[in-house]
Amino acid sequence: QACCRLQELTVDLHYEKFIVVPTRYIANNCEGPCRFPLSTRIPDYSSHTVLLMGMQERGAPLRRSPCCVPVKYSDKEIIRITTEGIQVTMFPNMVAEECGCR
């Protein structure tokens, strides 16, 4: 199985009651296991992650294993409805752009 990496994921916004346009968009997701050696596989990891993974490798139990998550997002322009009317706005952190093990 491949390591932690960005995968395309489309999110349906029909269920979001305040987003008028768009009705869907490509939000992406981060998927895949976090495994050694991180350095050659995943560009973004922290000393903290490396030390947690070292503990796991020695058999020390972790209550939360390192996880493949977005470490960089981009914004997205949406048109939403508010109590004030229709609003054009940049929504922050809408699209996963880079992944890392955290």
Binding site: T23, Y25, I86, V88
Partner: protein, 104 residues
């Protein structure tokens, strides 16, 4: 400019915060004009549906081709919110957002 998508451009003067004008080059100064899109091939439209009639709220260029802009015609889907019904579409042919071609 001949390769740019043309869309209808309209922004209702009331109850509107912000603008989609930055997504293209607006031609003419009339209330309803044409806009040449600068970053996509996609038009959008939003209408207020009330008593069986549709009133345009916003029309213009949508900034991305990847947000479900699959149809050449404006096939709307409704959103019931804040006591109103809005119809909205994305479409990818010239001036396709002038009118609703299929009401959702």
């Amino acid at each position: 400019l001949s390769w740019n998508r043309s869309c209808i451009f309209y922004e209702h003067p009331h109850n509107l915060q912000g603008s989609m004008r930055h997504r293209g080059h607006v031609l003419g100064g009339a209330e309803s004009s044409t806009i040449l899109c600068n970053s996509s091939q996609c038009c959008f439209g939003i209408w207020n549906q009330s008593h069986g009639r549709l009133q345009a709220v916003m029309q213009g260029c949508w900034g991305s081709d990847r947000d479900g802009c699959d149809s050449p015609a404006c096939k709307t889907s409704p959103i019931h919110t804040m006591g109103a019904i809005l119809q909205r579409c994305l479409c990818h042919s010239d001036l396709c957002n002038a009118n609703v071609s299929w009401l959702g």
